[in-house]
Subunit: 214 residues, 2 copies
């Protein structure tokens, strides 16, 4: 019996963890960040409150992990097979085929799909909205969820710079904002539809520039 | 006495209106959109609840007007004298000196100042956060507050296009998003400092493009 004990406990843990993530995301999407409680998550997940307190120090910590997990699963689904390059630790890089525009379009189209995914929509909006008014939560959200994604753009843009495909005087950390901020803006503020065609246009405008080329 | 009656009433109205705007913005900044009530605004403004209900149909309507008023006052302060072109109805246009980059930098620097203004900060964040989770309020916010501003960019970019300073195949409504979305992104998510130098860089990158020019 003994050899089976650990795997069983581990499977039970995995099931509980998954149930807690799902409950946390569902509740924050339905009720907003502030009205979501550890008690509510535990009840919905069918686990004891102490199980959650044993694994996470706070509501924010549970939610951050639930989002990291959700983003990782969404990235696996959204990025076409072979396009994403695992960089270890479960993170996905931006492909480098040598064609910067094509690589960026691929990744930004996948981002469009993620943002339009109904499973992501409500909880991501709720967490982002709370981070906008709560600076401490916002900073944690940026550090744990956004910055690691932005770092992938910096890596890809730096490679493009070394290959002579990006202006030598451009700062990759700023350049990436021309690519991702328009998508975030449309999605958050719902100004106009967020589509693949829009993602493609943003890449073309940002790389080629808005003024006529001679 | 009769000739003075109307102006006195009008002055009283103006004072009440200003007090109501100030109270509404202060409360939404302190407590968020949902916990702000007509009753609370009336109490803070020192007016009767009925005064507010006589002038506005809803809490959202009071707040929209308070923001329109605040934005108009901030624009008057932030844009250097002579730079803003009144377009009637109290709206400010983007100057057209024939130098697109300089005109955009002027306006985006003024936007940076507005976004960093402590008076604007808390209420604007609270309203934006609520619009992100409440689609109906968000749509009203976009229609009444954001779209009129975006229209000014479309006008200026179209003029640039006619003057041959903007790519003939660029859609001004999309092009403007490369300029304003990065500023909104930094401000909302607090990723990195929002400065004049950043505004200038965004204009340079968006107009010139990220790929090397031959």
């Amino acid at each position: 019996m003994a050899p089976h004990k650990a795997p069983d406990a581990s499977r039970r843990s995995d099931r509980s963890r998954r149930a807690i993530y799902d409950a946390a995301l569902a509740l924050v999407g339905e009720n907003g960040y502030r009205r979501t409680t550890i008690e509510g998550i535990a009840a919905r997940a069918g686990v004891g409150k102490q199980t959650i307190y044993r694994w996470w120090p706070s509501k924010a910590a549970v939610l951050m992990e639930a989002f990291l997990d959700l983003a990782a699963r969404a990235a696996e689904q959204a990025v076409p097979e072979g396009a994403a390059v695992s960089q270890g630790g479960g993170e996905y890089g931006i492909p480098d085929t040598g064609d910067l525009a094509a690589d960026l379009k691929l990744v930004l189209r996948a981002t469009v799909d993620e943002l339009n995914d109904p499973l992501m929509e409500a909880p991501t909006r709720a967490l982002t909205a709370e981070g906008i008014v709560d600076a401490k939560l916002g900073a944690e959200f940026i550090e744990k969820l956004l910055d690691p994604q932005l770092a992938l753009y910096v890596t890809r843009l730096r490679a493009a710079q070394e290959a002579g495909h990006l202006r030598a005087d451009a700062d990759p950390r700023i350049a990436l904002e021309l690519l991702i901020a328009p998508l975030t803006h449309r999605w958050l503020l719902r100004t106009l539809p967020l589509t693949h065609a829009y993602a493609d246009t943003i890449v073309d405008y940002a790389l080629g520039g808005l003024t006529p080329r001679p």
